[in-house]
Symmetry: C2
Subunit: 382 residues, 2 copies
Amino acid sequence: VTDERTARAGLSRLTEPAILRVADALGQVGAVRLYEDILAHRASDDLVADAGGRLTTLDPARELEQADRLGIRFVIPGDAEWPTQLDDLAHNGAVSELGGAPIGLWVRGPLRLDRLADSVAVVGSRSATTYGEDVARALGAGVARAGRCLVSGAAFGIDQAAHRGAVALDGPSVAVLACGVDRPYPVDHRSLIEHLAATGAVVSELPPGCAPLRMRFLARNRIIAALTAGTVVVEAATRSGALNTAAWADSLSRPLMGVPGPVTSAQSQGVHDWIRSGAATLVSRPEHVLELVGGAGQHLVEVPRGPEAPRDRLSRRHHQVLEAVPVRRVAGLASIAATAGVALVETQSALSYLARHDFVVREAGGWRLGERARGGIPGSGG
Amino acid sequence: VTDERTARAGLSRLTEPAILRVADALGQVGAVRLYEDILAHRASDDLVADAGGRLTTLDPARELEQADRLGIRFVIPGDAEWPTQLDDLAHNGAVSELGGAPIGLWVRGPLRLDRLADSVAVVGSRSATTYGEDVARALGAGVARAGRCLVSGAAFGIDQAAHRGAVALDGPSVAVLACGVDRPYPVDHRSLIEHLAATGAVVSELPPGCAPLRMRFLARNRIIAALTAGTVVVEAATRSGALNTAAWADSLSRPLMGVPGPVTSAQSQGVHDWIRSGAATLVSRPEHVLELVGGAGQHLVEVPRGPEAPRDRLSRRHHQVLEAVPVRRVAGLASIAATAGVALVETQSALSYLARHDFVVREAGGWRLGERARGGIPGSGG
């Protein structure tokens, strides 16, 4: 009888990552049973057939030992270090017909994966512009400055710039690879990847030694999206692979953010399309990113009502809209309407009324609470 | 007894534009009565006091004659040429404490103002970058190519570039000025403004001879927003006056659009803030603008249901989301959720389900109907 970790190590060698029918079978019978079924040719024909070519050289117990000697650990569900946010992948739709939670993660580096719940992914085009790389570096630095981990794919262009931005501030950074973690790819980034392995972590679904294949990049992208609290796409042409990561973040309902650029730049066109469609939110500074992935100030403070506050005299509808105007931030019309659950046009007219009576103040970018509304809330007048 | 046109000409001389209490009084008693009340000191004290300094030289009948000799006409509500979309200003909230429909418009040029219902405003910073001016010129050209009128303020930077883009294609263009239409401002744009007066129109609330004052620019901005079917802001720093026009478009619930730029450019920051807040939609090409201001393809074609369409077997909730996916366009998650009236997360999961069953197809920028959904609709399969 095989133990769970060895079975999963074996399965990670026998199967390609993100194959939905593997994930389904794993969910149905568990890792040990699935592994033994494949070995005994009792699993469904296609799983056995796909694994066939890999059975002869299989020795997961020895692989785990070898990995350990190389400083590589295999983290699986149930481990204290397992990043449980990855489990969201089990319940979400496929992108490019891939999907499912990973069988396990091979990890090199001191950073524990269970510390990535508030991490941020910054990804983008490999053929980035200087502008894009500059912005990615600044975002990486901003994420590090906020004490969060920067996750990316160590690729050319945007990815490496984001990693370097974090690393320059001694911030932790994680590279998720589409090949074995002992096999730096791209090779030009060997020293960057070694640095991440020494200070943060290098992670892969694929066992040591595996080569980077096209489909493995698509599978890898879902790990980046699922590991992090939000994904920022810095530059991506219309058909860029970075948009695959964006699709994953969207599919997981994680905050998806895009950095705009000149409309004349093909490298920004894919990002602009996503912002225009409403699927991605425009961000232009690290603070915008941190706000969206959930930082200080995101949760409205519950404030006690003052006696005889002038807002008590407002109509129910006006009250409803006023309650949706945030205490400290500026919010846009659409966002207030959505929060209040009131139609856009009615929200607009209510806000105009509230502005005339100093309950709210219009500013570039939207509305904020005015003096009068704050007056009724003891302790929040400043 | 004064006639309506003469009374309004007199009032346009006696009062500053966009003063809410003037608009209120006009709405209550009408132009003739208000004009005679002010002359007879029967109007409210502040209106009489404000008009005081202008009463001595007042002779609106003669002004109308003089204007006519200069090729300037005074268009008022009730005229066939009156652009009725301006009446929306009577029912909408104030911006910067200004508001109300104009008393009348002084016009130079062959273009009839009642042809502006589908016109497009392109505005932005006076201190624009080369990038911004290039984009404004391209948008102006795109608007002209679509056979629509380009409206702007003839200012330095974005405004003039947008006008010139339209003019280069012999497209009609209208400049709304914050001074008399006989008084080109800025003077460096004299030949541009004369060209617009010869081929399109130059428009102002202010009678001939009036100087451009700060508050008149704010009043002018509301005319640009209200005359047009949508406003595009090309570049605007955080406190740019162009955002005042944006606030008017927003307040009037007219489509408000913003062109992104490098996040490192201060001239794009105000635009980015509005896009980020959701109040403005990102546009990067003229087609995006035309789509939003209502052009071909905006209205979904009503299609008959086929018998035994496979969609009949979907759950009610899945059906609801599928119905919200447009027939020919790609729509974003947020837009589909809003159309369907289904929560974002549920919409996401429904779309994933529908995608797995080929009812919808995911693309960069959102979702479109898939083969299977189209199959059930006779005549829309192409």
